[in-house]
Symmetry: C2
Subunit: 336 residues, 2 copies
DNA sequence: ACCTTTCATGTAACCGCTTGTGTCACGGAG
DNA sequence: CTCCGTGACACAAGCGGTTACATGAAAGGT
């Protein structure tokens, strides 16, 4: 139905091989010939057939992005960074979510990746996740975003440090009874929340403060989760004077719970989050900002580079991006 | 390198044609043969090569989603609905943003669609957008989300009605000087903001209230845009007693501006938005909720249906989804 | 002046699957 | 007992590129 490479070849009076070389910028094509072919291809409005090209060359020019959520701030922001790079690189971005919008598990994406993409980018899937394991077992170029894992290239922040910075900020303000709003207590190393928690512990220990298990609460990484956890903390006999929430969205939920209890964040109780969520400025939340979009961007760049160089086993290195504490109204010195 | 259909055929002692038919559930295959082939394919861990299949059949099994933004709430939420459906339908989702994360224009996506996807889903691109025009000119099955346009199938809410409902709510509360925070004043029909504005006008006229141009302000569809617009309204000699913001994010910005002026939303000035943003409950914003995820879901379902039935010219109908006013603390009766 | 490179291009064999067209055996109708 | 319809498969021609290899002419070395 469409115009094929043969039509272009005939119109230019050359063979399809030459057209193929000319259009892809390969060497050994006379520049005059190349230009003529390009012109004719343009006039004919010729577009290469990806399927045919892929079949013949073995390369798909596709990268899959696998993510647990699409509609959450962190994930969509990473995604936008990834998309930006892949698009400029001329690669197709296949989006696959690991779970339904309702949070239910779905068919594992791994089988759908085989022979379909050249590389995979995985956003914040915990190392022990079975879906992630299957993807890694495919043995194709893969890098992780927002999570580090031994022997797999990744782009992430130093979560231990982030937790440390957030906690140290509260300590510097004179707080001693510091609570934590954490994700579900999964027994797994290498997750962001566990690293942040370790940073918290280190800061506390460094300041000779005790980590009180009574001041820890758990919930989902959502507003509702944070709200629930904060409510639990507030119903303690002696609530904390400051709280470290593992994410900004949890911190928002914590704010909501505080308000419901007549407490103003940054007055009676200080609150610090992690993320640098779009809304954090608006809500005057002190937070450890991470360069979320850059996470995606840099991971995509590294992957593209790896695919281009066709170095199969030179798995890229892991990259750590810096974070930054932004102090706002939700934290203040401990009241006397 | 991988296992091909030929390997399966040899192992099963049949021809590749039979394997192809058996694996795709086509008729005229003995059920015993089919099962044997399926079993062998499973044992061999055979996966069909998409490129080859696409080349031979002419169908790609891909749908492109074109969106102006990825990281904004509305767009990522629509996207999650779309992805959910496409994934269950076994179709690949190609994500393409029309602009960079910084908002700069990018190479038009249309050329990259040809021969690459079977259908296109476009999220909230205004009808006069050149990129949209190019996509439509491709003549492939396309449907629009969040925007209606004559002769192109779409899934959207009734934006006129949404504007009317929001405004009527303010009118019912006794407000007469009602301001509007609108998007940039583009001269184009069919955009969501223009329709919402028309709904606003209709409600005002229906209540015999005058639409005061001095009470209209413009800004981007972001927090910053809303903040800026609200600031403009607040510096009027006689500010409005109520404001209709075209989106929740603009309303958030308006709240920010109000606070900066020592005004509490819902007390001195009432505020209503449109969207049902995740944060609207948290911020106690009255809003006209639209089923954003369903927008994407239903559009994707319609497109899949159309592609399946292979009815090329039966462009699906346009679908209107309902909205719902949720009254919260940001609106209250006009003060005496 | 002759032989070897080098460069531009043509030839043709795939890449792995789909599908229209045959072929053959079987079974019921005449 | 022959004829024909039908179901189950096999055959083979594409689908539209890519690429190793062949070819021939021009350029360069001795």
């Amino acid at each position: 139905m469409g115009i094929t490479i043969k039509d272009v070849a005939d119109a230019a009076g050359v063979s399809t091989a030459t057209v193929s070389r000319a259009l892809r910028g390969l060497p050994n094509v006379d520049s005059a010939t190349r230009e003529r072919i390009q012109r004719i291809a343009g006039e004919l409005d010729y577009v290469i057939s990806p399927s045919a090209s892929r079949l013949a060359s073995g390369r798909t020019g596709c990268v899959a992005v696998i993510t647990p959520y699409i509609a959450r701030w962190y994930f969509s922001t990473v995604l936008s960074g990834v998309e930006s790079v892949l698009q400029s690189a001329g690669m197709d971005l296949l989006l696959m979510s690991v779970s339904t919008p309702d949070g239910q598990h779905r068919l594992p994406p791994a089988p759908r990746l085989r022979r379909r993409v050249d590389g995979v980018l995985v956003i914040a899937l915990p190392p022990q996740d079975s879906q992630l394991q299957e993807v890694l077992a495919l043995g194709m170029p893969t890098s992780l975003i927002g999570l580090s894992m031994p022997s797999v290239p990744s782009v992430a922040i130093d979560d231990v440090l982030a937790g440390q910075i957030a906690t140290q900020h509260l300590i510097n303000l004179g707080h001693e009874r510091i609570g934590v709003i954490n994700g579900a207590p999964i027994v797994s190393p290498y997750t962001a929340e566990n690293d942040r928690y370790r940073g918290f512990e280190q800061a506390m220990l460094g300041a000779h403060l005790t980590v009180d298990p009574m001041l820890e609460a758990y919930g989902y990484f959502t507003i509702a989760g944070g709200e629930q956890a904060m409510t639990a903390l507030l119903t303690q006999k002696v609530p904390p004077t400051a709280v470290f929430a593992m994410s900004d969205e949890m911190a928002f939920g914590a704010m909501k719970a505080m308000r419901a209890h007549g407490i103003t964040p940054g007055k009676e109780i200080s609150l610090v989050g992690v993320d640098g969520h779009d809304m954090s400025e608006f809500l005057d939340l002190t937070t450890v900002v991470q360069p979320v979009q850059d996470l995606g961007r840099i991971a995509a760049e590294a992957l593209v580079l790896q695919l281009r160089s066709a170095s199969p086993e030179i798995a890229g290195e892991s990259i750590r991006l810096p974070t930054q504490l932004i102090v706002r109204g939700s934290t203040s010195p401990r009241r006397a």
